[in-house]
Protein backbone atom coordinates (compact mmCIF):
# COMPACT_ATOMS: atom_id res chain seq x y z
CA UNK A 1 0.00 0.00 0.00
CA UNK A 2 1.59 3.18 -1.18
CA UNK A 3 1.40 6.28 0.99
CA UNK A 4 0.71 9.37 -1.12
CA UNK A 5 1.29 13.03 -0.26
CA UNK A 6 -0.50 16.17 -1.44
CA UNK A 7 0.13 16.69 -5.15
CA UNK A 8 0.77 13.02 -6.01
CA UNK A 9 -1.10 11.80 -9.08
CA UNK A 10 -3.28 8.83 -8.19
CA UNK A 11 -5.34 8.32 -11.38
CA UNK A 12 -4.72 9.06 -15.01
CA UNK A 13 -8.32 10.07 -15.47
CA UNK A 14 -10.68 12.46 -13.68
CA UNK A 15 -12.66 10.79 -10.87
CA UNK A 16 -14.37 12.85 -8.19
CA UNK A 17 -13.33 11.59 -4.77
CA UNK A 18 -13.13 13.21 -1.36
CA UNK A 19 -9.67 14.49 -0.41
CA UNK A 20 -8.55 14.69 -4.06
CA UNK A 21 -8.62 17.26 -6.84
CA UNK A 22 -8.74 17.09 -10.60
CA UNK A 23 -6.41 18.98 -12.90
CA UNK A 24 -5.84 18.50 -16.64
CA UNK A 25 -7.94 15.35 -16.66
CA UNK A 26 -5.95 13.65 -13.91
CA UNK A 27 -6.81 13.01 -10.26
CA UNK A 28 -4.38 14.02 -7.53
CA UNK A 29 -4.20 13.44 -3.76
CA UNK A 30 -4.94 16.55 -1.70
CA UNK A 31 -3.99 15.01 1.65
CA UNK A 32 -1.60 12.48 3.11
CA UNK A 33 -3.25 9.12 2.53
CA UNK A 34 -3.20 5.60 1.17
CA UNK A 35 -4.59 4.97 -2.29
CA UNK A 36 -6.63 1.78 -2.50
CA UNK A 37 -6.08 0.58 -6.06
CA UNK A 38 -8.99 -1.87 -6.03
CA UNK A 39 -11.67 0.31 -4.59
CA UNK A 40 -10.29 3.40 -6.29
CA UNK A 41 -10.57 5.48 -3.12
CA UNK A 42 -8.07 7.58 -1.24
CA UNK A 43 -8.01 6.62 2.44
CA UNK A 44 -6.87 9.73 4.30
CA UNK A 45 -4.24 9.21 6.98
CA UNK A 46 -4.78 12.84 7.95
CA UNK A 47 -7.97 14.54 6.89
CA UNK A 48 -10.73 16.83 8.01
CA UNK A 49 -14.38 16.04 8.52
CA UNK A 50 -16.71 17.09 5.70
CA UNK A 51 -20.21 16.95 7.26
CA UNK A 52 -22.82 14.97 5.36
CA UNK A 53 -26.56 14.69 5.74
CA UNK A 54 -27.54 11.88 8.10
CA UNK A 55 -24.21 11.56 9.92
CA UNK A 56 -24.23 11.11 13.67
CA UNK A 57 -22.16 13.62 15.65
CA UNK A 58 -21.28 14.24 19.29
CA UNK A 59 -21.12 17.89 20.35
CA UNK A 60 -21.04 20.28 23.29
CA UNK A 61 -23.48 23.19 23.70
CA UNK A 62 -21.33 26.30 24.02
CA UNK A 63 -23.80 29.12 23.56
CA UNK A 64 -27.48 29.74 23.98
CA UNK A 65 -28.91 32.28 21.55
CA UNK A 66 -32.40 33.66 21.18
CA UNK A 67 -33.67 30.96 18.83
CA UNK A 68 -30.86 28.46 18.72
CA UNK A 69 -28.01 26.68 20.45
CA UNK A 70 -24.45 26.81 19.17
CA UNK A 71 -22.69 23.43 19.29
CA UNK A 72 -18.94 22.82 19.39
CA UNK A 73 -18.10 19.92 17.08
CA UNK A 74 -14.28 20.04 17.28
CA UNK A 75 -14.39 20.99 13.59
CA UNK A 76 -13.77 24.08 11.43
CA UNK A 77 -17.48 24.94 11.62
CA UNK A 78 -19.89 25.07 14.50
CA UNK A 79 -23.14 23.20 14.75
CA UNK A 80 -26.51 24.78 15.34
CA UNK A 81 -29.73 23.44 16.88
CA UNK A 82 -32.92 25.37 16.25
CA UNK A 83 -34.52 25.93 19.66
CA UNK A 84 -38.12 25.27 18.69
CA UNK A 85 -37.30 21.75 17.38
CA UNK A 86 -35.31 20.76 20.42
CA UNK A 87 -36.71 17.96 22.59
CA UNK A 88 -35.69 19.07 26.10
CA UNK A 89 -34.33 22.34 27.30
CA UNK A 90 -30.59 22.45 26.81
CA UNK A 91 -27.94 24.47 28.62
CA UNK A 92 -24.37 25.52 27.97
CA UNK A 93 -22.07 22.62 28.86
CA UNK A 94 -24.50 19.88 27.84
CA UNK A 95 -23.14 17.03 25.74
CA UNK A 96 -25.40 15.88 22.92
CA UNK A 97 -25.49 13.40 20.09
CA UNK A 98 -27.30 14.66 17.01
CA UNK A 99 -27.73 14.08 13.30
CA UNK A 100 -26.50 16.35 10.53
CA UNK A 101 -29.40 17.86 8.61
CA UNK A 102 -27.53 20.13 6.20
CA UNK A 103 -24.97 22.92 5.88
CA UNK A 104 -26.30 26.46 5.68
CA UNK A 105 -24.80 29.24 3.50
CA UNK A 106 -22.09 29.96 6.07
CA UNK A 107 -21.28 26.23 6.30
CA UNK A 108 -22.68 26.05 9.81
CA UNK A 109 -23.78 22.47 10.45
CA UNK A 110 -27.52 22.44 11.02
CA UNK A 111 -28.30 19.60 13.43
CA UNK A 112 -31.48 17.73 14.24
CA UNK A 113 -32.76 14.86 16.41
CA UNK A 114 -30.53 15.72 19.34
CA UNK A 115 -30.36 13.62 22.48
CA UNK A 116 -28.77 14.83 25.67
CA UNK A 117 -25.98 12.62 27.03
CA UNK A 118 -25.52 12.58 30.79
CA UNK A 119 -22.17 12.19 32.54
CA UNK A 120 -19.53 10.23 30.70
CA UNK A 121 -16.28 11.39 29.16
CA UNK A 122 -15.38 12.83 25.78
CA UNK A 123 -12.25 12.10 23.79
CA UNK A 124 -11.50 13.74 20.46
CA UNK A 125 -9.89 11.64 17.74
CA UNK A 126 -8.99 12.37 14.11
CA UNK A 127 -12.14 12.13 11.95
CA UNK A 128 -10.20 10.06 9.39
CA UNK A 129 -9.83 7.28 12.00
CA UNK A 130 -13.55 7.03 12.82
CA UNK A 131 -14.28 4.32 10.23
CA UNK A 132 -11.62 2.12 11.83
CA UNK A 133 -12.99 2.67 15.32
CA UNK A 134 -16.41 1.55 14.10
CA UNK A 135 -15.01 -1.24 11.91
CA UNK A 136 -16.45 -3.06 8.92
CA UNK A 137 -20.04 -4.02 9.84
CA UNK A 138 -19.44 -2.50 13.29
CA UNK A 139 -17.03 -5.31 14.23
CA UNK A 140 -14.55 -3.08 16.10
CA UNK A 141 -17.06 -1.05 18.09
CA UNK A 142 -18.96 -4.21 19.08
CA UNK A 143 -15.72 -5.77 20.27
CA UNK A 144 -14.91 -2.64 22.29
CA UNK A 145 -18.33 -2.46 23.89
CA UNK A 146 -18.30 -6.13 24.88
CA UNK A 147 -14.72 -6.06 26.11
CA UNK A 148 -15.08 -2.94 28.26
CA UNK A 149 -18.78 -2.89 29.11
CA UNK A 150 -18.74 0.83 28.28
CA UNK A 151 -21.42 2.64 26.35
CA UNK A 152 -19.63 4.20 23.40
CA UNK A 153 -21.02 6.73 20.93
CA UNK A 154 -18.70 7.59 18.05
CA UNK A 155 -19.46 10.85 16.24
CA UNK A 156 -18.37 11.11 12.60
CA UNK A 157 -16.81 14.42 13.65
CA UNK A 158 -14.22 12.46 15.61
CA UNK A 159 -15.76 13.11 19.01
CA UNK A 160 -16.35 9.97 21.09
CA UNK A 161 -18.53 9.73 24.22
CA UNK A 162 -17.74 6.98 26.72
CA UNK A 163 -19.75 6.12 29.81
CA UNK A 164 -19.59 3.32 32.33
CA UNK A 165 -17.59 0.12 32.22
CA UNK A 166 -13.83 0.35 32.13
CA UNK A 167 -13.49 3.91 30.83
CA UNK A 168 -9.70 3.91 31.13
CA UNK A 169 -9.44 0.72 29.04
CA UNK A 170 -11.89 2.04 26.45
CA UNK A 171 -9.91 5.27 26.16
CA UNK A 172 -6.64 3.39 25.80
CA UNK A 173 -8.08 1.06 23.16
CA UNK A 174 -9.57 3.87 21.07
CA UNK A 175 -6.34 5.88 21.14
CA UNK A 176 -4.45 2.78 20.07
CA UNK A 177 -6.86 2.17 17.17
CA UNK A 178 -6.24 5.76 16.11
CA UNK A 179 -2.49 5.20 16.04
CA UNK A 180 -2.55 1.83 14.28
CA UNK A 181 -5.57 2.41 12.02
CA UNK A 182 -3.52 1.95 8.86
CA UNK A 183 -2.13 -1.48 9.80
CA UNK A 184 -3.56 -4.95 9.31
CA UNK A 185 -4.44 -7.34 12.11
CA UNK A 186 -5.65 -4.49 14.31
CA UNK A 187 -8.96 -6.08 15.23
CA UNK A 188 -7.14 -9.12 16.60
CA UNK A 189 -4.59 -7.06 18.51
CA UNK A 190 -7.34 -4.99 20.15
CA UNK A 191 -9.22 -8.15 21.05
CA UNK A 192 -6.08 -9.52 22.69
CA UNK A 193 -5.52 -6.22 24.53
CA UNK A 194 -9.07 -6.28 25.92
CA UNK A 195 -8.88 -9.97 26.89
CA UNK A 196 -5.53 -9.50 28.62
CA UNK A 197 -6.78 -6.53 30.60
CA UNK A 198 -9.94 -8.32 31.67
CA UNK A 199 -7.93 -11.36 32.80
CA UNK A 200 -5.73 -9.16 34.96
CA UNK A 201 -8.71 -7.81 36.88
Amino acid sequence: MEIVIPGDMILDKPIHMENTFIEDGKTYAAVLGIFDQEKKTLIPLEGLWYPKHGELVVGIIIEEKLNSYVVDLNAPYKGILVAKYVRDKLSVGDIIEATVKELDETKTVVLMRERKLYGGKIIDVKPSKVPRIIGKNNTMIKQLTEGTKSTIIVGMNGRVWIKGGDVALTTKAILRIQEEAHTSGLTDRIREMLEKSNKEQ
Binding site: I60, V92, D124, A168
Partner: protein
Protein backbone atom coordinates in the same frame (compact mmCIF):
# COMPACT_ATOMS: atom_id res chain seq x y z
CA UNK B 1 -18.89 31.03 29.58
CA UNK B 2 -17.43 27.61 30.26
CA UNK B 3 -14.67 26.58 27.92
CA UNK B 4 -14.89 23.42 25.84
CA UNK B 5 -11.81 22.09 27.63
CA UNK B 6 -13.35 22.53 31.07
CA UNK B 7 -16.56 20.82 29.92
CA UNK B 8 -14.59 17.91 28.46
CA UNK B 9 -12.61 17.64 31.69
CA UNK B 10 -15.57 17.88 34.06
CA UNK B 11 -15.41 14.11 34.66
CA UNK B 12 -12.00 14.59 36.30
CA UNK B 13 -13.56 16.21 39.38
CA UNK B 14 -15.67 13.15 40.08
CA UNK B 15 -12.79 10.77 39.46
CA UNK B 16 -10.61 12.67 41.93
CA UNK B 17 -13.41 12.71 44.50
CA UNK B 18 -13.38 8.91 44.20
CA UNK B 19 -9.64 8.91 44.78
CA UNK B 20 -8.71 8.11 41.16
CA UNK B 21 -6.29 10.08 39.02
CA UNK B 22 -5.65 9.15 35.38
CA UNK B 23 -2.53 7.01 35.21
CA UNK B 24 -0.71 8.24 38.32
CA UNK B 25 -0.93 9.08 42.02
CA UNK B 26 -2.13 12.44 43.32
CA UNK B 27 1.42 13.46 44.20
CA UNK B 28 3.26 11.93 41.23
CA UNK B 29 5.04 13.77 38.45
CA UNK B 30 4.55 12.76 34.84
CA UNK B 31 7.59 11.54 32.94
CA UNK B 32 10.32 14.22 32.90
CA UNK B 33 13.12 14.47 30.36
CA UNK B 34 15.74 17.21 30.20
CA UNK B 35 18.21 17.74 27.34
CA UNK B 36 20.82 20.48 27.54
CA UNK B 37 23.00 22.12 24.91
CA UNK B 38 20.39 21.69 22.20
CA UNK B 39 20.83 25.21 20.83
CA UNK B 40 24.59 25.53 20.35
CA UNK B 41 24.28 29.13 19.10
CA UNK B 42 23.06 30.10 22.56
CA UNK B 43 25.52 30.11 25.42
CA UNK B 44 23.22 27.76 27.30
CA UNK B 45 20.04 25.90 26.48
CA UNK B 46 17.72 23.17 27.67
CA UNK B 47 14.59 21.40 26.51
CA UNK B 48 12.28 20.00 29.15
CA UNK B 49 9.45 17.58 28.43
CA UNK B 50 7.07 17.17 31.36
CA UNK B 51 4.43 14.77 30.06
CA UNK B 52 3.40 16.57 26.86
CA UNK B 53 4.38 20.02 28.10
CA UNK B 54 7.44 21.06 26.11
CA UNK B 55 9.58 24.03 27.18
CA UNK B 56 12.78 25.41 25.65
CA UNK B 57 15.07 27.74 27.58
CA UNK B 58 17.89 29.66 25.92
CA UNK B 59 20.60 31.66 27.68
CA UNK B 60 22.55 34.47 26.02
CA UNK B 61 25.16 36.67 27.64
CA UNK B 62 25.72 40.17 26.34
CA UNK B 63 28.00 43.01 27.27
CA UNK B 64 25.93 45.63 29.03
CA UNK B 65 25.89 48.55 31.40
CA UNK B 66 25.12 47.95 35.06
CA UNK B 67 21.92 49.24 36.61
CA UNK B 68 22.51 52.68 38.16
CA UNK B 69 21.72 51.43 41.67
CA UNK B 70 23.99 48.34 41.34
CA UNK B 71 27.18 49.54 39.64
CA UNK B 72 29.22 46.45 40.58
CA UNK B 73 26.72 43.82 39.53
CA UNK B 74 25.66 42.26 36.27
CA UNK B 75 22.05 41.62 35.30
CA UNK B 76 19.87 38.55 35.19
CA UNK B 77 16.81 38.94 32.97
CA UNK B 78 14.28 36.14 32.75
CA UNK B 79 11.47 36.30 30.18
CA UNK B 80 8.84 33.85 29.05
CA UNK B 81 6.75 33.56 25.93
CA UNK B 82 3.64 31.43 25.59
CA UNK B 83 4.13 30.79 21.89
CA UNK B 84 0.88 30.76 19.91
CA UNK B 85 1.88 27.40 18.47
CA UNK B 86 1.80 25.85 21.95
CA UNK B 87 -1.96 25.98 22.39
CA UNK B 88 -5.14 26.97 20.57
CA UNK B 89 -5.74 29.35 23.50
CA UNK B 90 -2.52 31.35 23.05
CA UNK B 91 -2.56 34.45 20.86
CA UNK B 92 0.12 36.42 19.08
CA UNK B 93 0.99 39.80 20.50
CA UNK B 94 2.79 41.19 23.54
CA UNK B 95 3.28 38.89 26.56
CA UNK B 96 0.02 38.11 28.34
CA UNK B 97 -0.38 38.43 32.12
CA UNK B 98 0.09 34.64 32.28
CA UNK B 99 3.44 34.83 30.47
CA UNK B 100 4.59 37.68 32.66
CA UNK B 101 3.55 35.91 35.86
CA UNK B 102 5.37 32.76 34.70
CA UNK B 103 8.60 34.67 34.02
CA UNK B 104 8.47 36.58 37.29
CA UNK B 105 7.78 33.49 39.42
CA UNK B 106 10.62 31.52 37.80
CA UNK B 107 12.83 34.60 38.24
CA UNK B 108 11.98 34.89 41.93
CA UNK B 109 12.95 31.29 42.69
CA UNK B 110 16.25 31.54 40.84
CA UNK B 111 17.16 34.96 42.24
CA UNK B 112 16.21 34.17 45.84
CA UNK B 113 18.23 30.95 45.71
CA UNK B 114 21.27 32.89 44.50
CA UNK B 115 21.87 30.52 41.60
CA UNK B 116 23.72 33.30 39.77
CA UNK B 117 26.09 35.53 41.70
CA UNK B 118 25.48 38.82 39.92
CA UNK B 119 28.67 40.32 41.37
CA UNK B 120 30.66 37.71 39.44
CA UNK B 121 29.23 39.23 36.25
CA UNK B 122 31.14 42.49 36.83
CA UNK B 123 33.86 43.08 34.23
CA UNK B 124 35.16 46.59 34.77
CA UNK B 125 33.71 49.99 35.56
CA UNK B 126 30.66 50.56 33.42
CA UNK B 127 30.82 47.07 31.89
CA UNK B 128 29.02 43.99 33.11
CA UNK B 129 27.51 40.84 31.67
CA UNK B 130 23.76 40.62 31.30
CA UNK B 131 22.45 37.07 31.42
CA UNK B 132 19.27 36.74 29.37
CA UNK B 133 17.16 33.65 29.95
CA UNK B 134 14.28 33.22 27.50
CA UNK B 135 11.71 30.58 28.27
CA UNK B 136 9.84 29.43 25.18
CA UNK B 137 6.71 27.36 25.73
CA UNK B 138 6.45 25.04 22.71
CA UNK B 139 3.52 22.81 23.76
CA UNK B 140 1.15 23.41 26.66
CA UNK B 141 -0.14 20.48 28.70
CA UNK B 142 -0.19 22.00 32.17
CA UNK B 143 2.32 22.97 34.84
CA UNK B 144 4.40 25.48 32.94
CA UNK B 145 5.93 26.69 36.23
CA UNK B 146 7.80 23.53 37.15
CA UNK B 147 8.81 22.76 33.57
CA UNK B 148 10.08 26.32 33.06
CA UNK B 149 12.05 26.39 36.30
CA UNK B 150 13.67 23.06 35.40
CA UNK B 151 14.49 24.39 31.92
CA UNK B 152 15.90 27.70 33.12
CA UNK B 153 18.03 26.16 35.86
CA UNK B 154 19.28 23.30 33.64
CA UNK B 155 20.22 25.80 30.93
CA UNK B 156 22.00 28.11 33.38
CA UNK B 157 23.97 25.29 34.97
CA UNK B 158 25.33 24.21 31.56
CA UNK B 159 25.91 27.70 30.16
CA UNK B 160 29.35 28.54 28.81
CA UNK B 161 30.91 31.83 29.78
CA UNK B 162 31.94 34.08 26.88
CA UNK B 163 35.25 35.92 27.11
CA UNK B 164 35.70 39.67 27.03
CA UNK B 165 38.97 40.62 25.36
CA UNK B 166 39.96 43.99 23.88
CA UNK B 167 36.42 45.29 23.66
CA UNK B 168 35.27 42.09 21.95
CA UNK B 169 32.93 39.40 23.10
CA UNK B 170 34.29 35.97 22.22
CA UNK B 171 31.60 33.34 22.12
CA UNK B 172 33.46 30.49 20.50
CA UNK B 173 36.52 28.40 21.24
CA UNK B 174 37.51 27.00 24.60
CA UNK B 175 35.28 28.65 27.16
CA UNK B 176 34.64 28.11 30.83
CA UNK B 177 31.25 27.71 32.43
CA UNK B 178 29.01 30.37 33.88
CA UNK B 179 29.50 30.33 37.63
CA UNK B 180 26.37 29.01 39.37
CA UNK B 181 25.66 27.90 42.91
CA UNK B 182 23.09 25.41 44.12
CA UNK B 183 19.90 24.20 42.48
CA UNK B 184 16.36 25.50 42.80
CA UNK B 185 13.25 23.68 41.60
CA UNK B 186 9.54 24.24 42.03
CA UNK B 187 6.54 22.05 42.77
CA UNK B 188 3.13 23.17 41.53
CA UNK B 189 -0.15 21.93 42.94
CA UNK B 190 -3.73 22.30 41.69
CA UNK B 191 -6.78 22.22 43.89
CA UNK B 192 -9.75 20.61 42.13
CA UNK B 193 -12.84 20.49 44.27
CA UNK B 194 -11.56 18.99 47.52
CA UNK B 195 -8.57 17.22 45.97
CA UNK B 196 -5.05 18.56 45.62
CA UNK B 197 -2.77 17.12 42.94
CA UNK B 198 0.88 17.70 42.06
CA UNK B 199 1.93 18.54 38.49
CA UNK B 200 -1.50 19.17 36.94
CA UNK B 201 -1.79 18.40 33.24
CA UNK B 202 -3.72 20.58 30.79
CA UNK B 203 -7.05 18.85 31.40
CA UNK B 204 -6.66 19.15 35.17
CA UNK B 205 -5.70 22.83 34.89
CA UNK B 206 -8.87 23.51 32.88
CA UNK B 207 -10.96 22.46 35.90
CA UNK B 208 -8.74 23.59 38.78
CA UNK B 209 -10.01 26.14 41.26
CA UNK B 210 -6.66 27.38 42.49
CA UNK B 211 -2.95 26.69 42.18
CA UNK B 212 0.11 26.91 44.39
CA UNK B 213 3.75 26.91 43.29
CA UNK B 214 6.51 26.43 45.85
CA UNK B 215 10.14 26.88 44.83
CA UNK B 216 12.85 25.55 47.09
CA UNK B 217 16.41 24.34 47.32
CA UNK B 218 17.74 21.83 49.82
CA UNK B 219 17.44 24.21 52.77
CA UNK B 220 14.96 26.98 52.21
CA UNK B 221 11.65 27.81 50.61
CA UNK B 222 12.78 30.36 48.01
CA UNK B 223 9.55 31.54 46.38
CA UNK B 224 5.85 30.92 46.49
CA UNK B 225 2.97 31.91 44.27
CA UNK B 226 -0.67 31.24 44.63
CA UNK B 227 -2.59 31.59 41.37
CA UNK B 228 -6.24 31.84 40.35
CA UNK B 229 -9.16 32.79 42.49
CA UNK B 230 -9.80 29.94 44.96
CA UNK B 231 -8.07 29.51 48.32
CA UNK B 232 -5.96 27.16 50.42
CA UNK B 233 -6.14 26.63 54.17
CA UNK B 234 -3.02 27.21 56.22
CA UNK B 235 -2.88 23.51 57.02
CA UNK B 236 -3.03 22.59 53.35
CA UNK B 237 -0.16 24.94 52.56
CA UNK B 238 2.01 23.57 55.36
CA UNK B 239 1.44 20.04 54.12
CA UNK B 240 2.29 21.07 50.60
CA UNK B 241 5.52 22.66 51.81
CA UNK B 242 6.47 19.33 53.40
CA UNK B 243 5.54 17.46 50.22
CA UNK B 244 7.62 19.91 48.21
CA UNK B 245 10.76 19.27 50.24
CA UNK B 246 10.19 15.55 49.71
CA UNK B 247 9.40 15.66 45.98
CA UNK B 248 12.08 18.20 45.07
CA UNK B 249 14.81 15.70 45.95
CA UNK B 250 14.20 13.74 42.77
CA UNK B 251 13.99 16.94 40.70
CA UNK B 252 17.36 18.12 42.01
CA UNK B 253 18.90 14.76 41.29
CA UNK B 254 17.77 14.93 37.64
CA UNK B 255 19.52 18.28 37.30
CA UNK B 256 22.61 16.98 39.05
CA UNK B 257 22.92 14.21 36.47
CA UNK B 258 23.06 16.65 33.54
CA UNK B 259 26.37 16.83 31.71
CA UNK B 260 27.63 19.74 29.63
Amino acid sequence: MQSVNSIKSAYIKEMLNNGVRSGRGFMDYREISILTGIIPNAEGSAEVNLGSTKVLAGVKLDLDEPMPDKPNEGNLVISAELLPLASADYDTGPPSPEAIELARVVDRGIRAAGIIDTESLFIEEGKVWSVFVDIYIMNYDGNLFDASTLAAVSALKTTRMPKYEDNNVIREGKLGKLKTKGIVTSCTYAKIGKSIVLDPDGDEESVMDTRLTIANDDTYIRAMQKGLSGSFTQHEIEELVDTTFEKSKSLRSIINKLSD
